[in-house]
């Protein structure tokens, strides 16, 4: 067995860069140093695109919307209840309240149901049922909002109209549909944070004679608290930003709703409903609405990433 004479790959001795500026050809022109550097640059560039997108999005939306906010005064823009583009009145107060009311009323039922389902999946359900439920919740998360809106329009709205009164397009219809839509977010993040609680906590509590339910309430939920809060905030973000389903079931009146059976309009609905024909100040007012929405969401995201960081510090 000779040292593979015949298909020698190398000259047998070390080569230095000064001696061999280019290596023998190979895949992709064999990773010459310049090529490696070129690829590294391209990769960095693609990573930069995400940052560029954020910069462009904020730049363009603020540039379109902010001048109008200053023109009519930001207090008037945000707090005035009068939205009447034909008369040049652009107050998003009613829409702001609409978004708030709808978000709170959907969280009001989706949070308890979501957390309780998360505990069920992580602690109570047999492993098989837990994983089947997990798959179903993934599926629920994948259903497009326009399908939820359609479902609300043909089932929930007529139901409310026939049994509770009003024309059905209402805060209640929106809260039901929106609540369903944010359930997957709340459930999956809460479940993950419950599963992340060290086993020893639970075992320690059980060893002290606590029942399983007492351990869940006294030890597991408190330990998973920051994750559950994150889940709720992310659910809230999704509720605030949701558009199509809300447009389809809430009636879109620009009045502040007086009851759960009244219609309302959210900031997102306002944009999608009027963008098609708006021009001039009207269009700028819609961009301004988008800018307010954007700021809301960015603040929520910051809260989330701060709370995640805090949770991590705590864990360490």
């Amino acid at each position: 067995m000779d040292k593979y004479a015949g298909n020698s790959l190398t000259a047998g001795a070390l080569r230095y860069r000064s001696e061999s500026p280019k290596k023998a050809g190979g895949w992709l022109g064999s990773g010459s140093r310049q090529m490696e550097t070129g690829i590294e640059f391209l990769l960095k560039l693609s990573a930069f695109i995400g940052i560029l997108a954020i910069i462009l999005i904020s730049l363009f939306i603020f540039a379109q919307g902010v001048p109008l906010i200053f023109k009519i005064g930001w207090l008037d823009f945000i707090f005035s209840l009068k939205w009447s583009p034909s008369q040049g009145s652009y107050g998003i107060g009613a829409m702001l309240v609409g978004t708030l009311v709808l978000t709170i009323s959907s969280l009001a039922w989706a949070v308890p149901l979501g957390i309780s389902t998360a505990v069920f999946m992580a602690e109570i359900a047999p492993a098989r049922i837990g994983s089947i439920l997990g798959r179903m919740i993934e599926l629920l998360a994948g259903i497009p909002s326009v399908v939820f809106g359609f479902f609300g329009l043909i089932i929930v709205v007529p139901f409310i109209r026939n049994y509770l009164g009003g024309n059905g397009m209402s805060v209640l219809a929106g809260a039901i549909i929106l609540g369903i839509m944010i359930l997957p977010t709340i459930i999956s993040i809460s479940r993950d944070s419950i599963l992340a609680v060290p086993k020893e906590y639970k075992e320690g509590s059980l060893a002290l004679g606590a029942t399983h339910m007492q351990s869940i309430k006294g030890v597991i939920l408190p330990a998973a608290k920051s994750g559950i809060i994150t889940a709720v905030i992310l659910g809230m973000g999704r509720a605030i930003g949701e558009t199509m389903a809300v447009v389809m079931v809430t009636g879109n009146s620009t009045m502040i709703p007086g009851s759960m059976l009244d219609p309302l309009r959210t900031m997102t609905s306002n944009i999608v409903l009027e963008m098609g024909y708006a021009a001039g100040d009207h269009q700028a007012a819609l961009f301004a609405t988008g800018a307010v929405l954007f700021v809301f969401i960015v603040i929520l995201n910051l809260v989330v990433s701060l709370s995640i960081k805090e949770g991590k510090n705590y864990a360490e």
Partner: protein, 280 residues
């Protein structure tokens, strides 16, 4: 003692009930739309062009538009997303300012509501770059929306590739890029594909951003600069304007079928990611 036992059972019962309720909600939505929608489905519905604003005929042009938009946005977003993931996991130092900024940008992008993307796409691609309401404007907007999903799932997939693969490859004299392209990426492929599949699901369902960027013309798009109406946008318009509830059900049913398939595929490729399942 007895008291706490009863309380325990009640709570346990309530939790079973909540799990059941969530399943019931999903079941009702899917069952109702399927029952009402399946009767609308036939070959004509799928392969005929819509007539009279969708009141008659099929939805073929919206299916084609959905495919165009989805493919075009993937072609833009996949290289960028996988590229950033490679940069973050293989080149950048984890605590570097740039890497932290890229991660922050991805997080923020993931949280922005689609209507805001729509506004941006409208003012930037449609107006400022003068691309008009078109497949191109819609896909570029869509690409930014799915970028965080692709980046994040690719990052996780690359991270799960054992460090020994890299060491072994480098010890054989492979360069860094050869190691990444020939060993790391092929091993990470199932995870990357999962991200792509999830993005397809998002592209199929997206409505708000596309109404503002791709328009709602019902014609068959012939090129990248033609306007297009996807199935989801079509469903919205059919239902909201009361054009044809039968066709709305049919469209909703087709969308749900696609989403179920996509969900199944994503789970399949995710399971292939586990080391035990790899290569089998």
């Amino acid at each position: 003692m007895l008291n706490s036992n009863i309380q325990d059972r009640v709570i346990r019962g309530l939790m079973w009930l909540s799990g059941l309720l969530v399943v019931a909600i999903l079941f009702i939505i899917i069952a109702y739309i399927s029952l009402k929608g399946i009767s609308a489905i036939n070959l004509d519905f799928i392969f005929d062009l819509p007539h009279r604003a969708g009141k008659e005929g099929g939805i073929f042009s919206t299916i084609i538009s959905t495919i165009y938009l989805t493919l075009a946005s993937l072609i833009i977003a996949v290289p960028l997303g996988v590229g950033s993931a490679i940069h973050l996991e293989e080149y950048a130092r984890r605590d570097s300012f740039f890497a932290r900024l890229v991660n922050l940008a991805a997080e923020t992008l993931a949280g922005i509501p689609s209507i805001v993307f729509g506004l941006f796409g409208f003012v930037f691609f449609v107006i400022y770059l003068n691309l008009g309401w078109s497949v191109l404007s819609g896909s570029l907007t869509m690409a930014i929306m799915i970028l965080p999903t692709i980046t994040r799932t690719s990052q996780e997939a690359i991270l799960s590739v054992p460090a020994e693969y890299r060491e072994n490859s480098l010890a054989l004299g492979a360069s860094k890029w050869q190691t990444i392209s020939k060993v790391v990426l092929p091993s990470a492929l199932p995870g990357i594909i999962t991200g792509v599949i999830l993005s397809i699901g998002r592209a199929i369902g997206e409505t708000a951003a596309l109404i503002l960027t791709a328009g709602s013309s019902l014609g068959m798009p012939a090129g990248l600069l033609d306007p297009a109406r996807t199935m989801s946008v079509h469903l919205y318009i059919l239902a909201m304007e009361g054009i044809s509830m039968e066709r709305a059900f049919g469209t909703a049913f087709l969308i749900i079928v696609l989403i179920v398939i996509i969900n199944y595929l994503a789970n399949l490729s995710l399971r292939r990611m586990s080391p035990a399942g790899r290569l089998q």
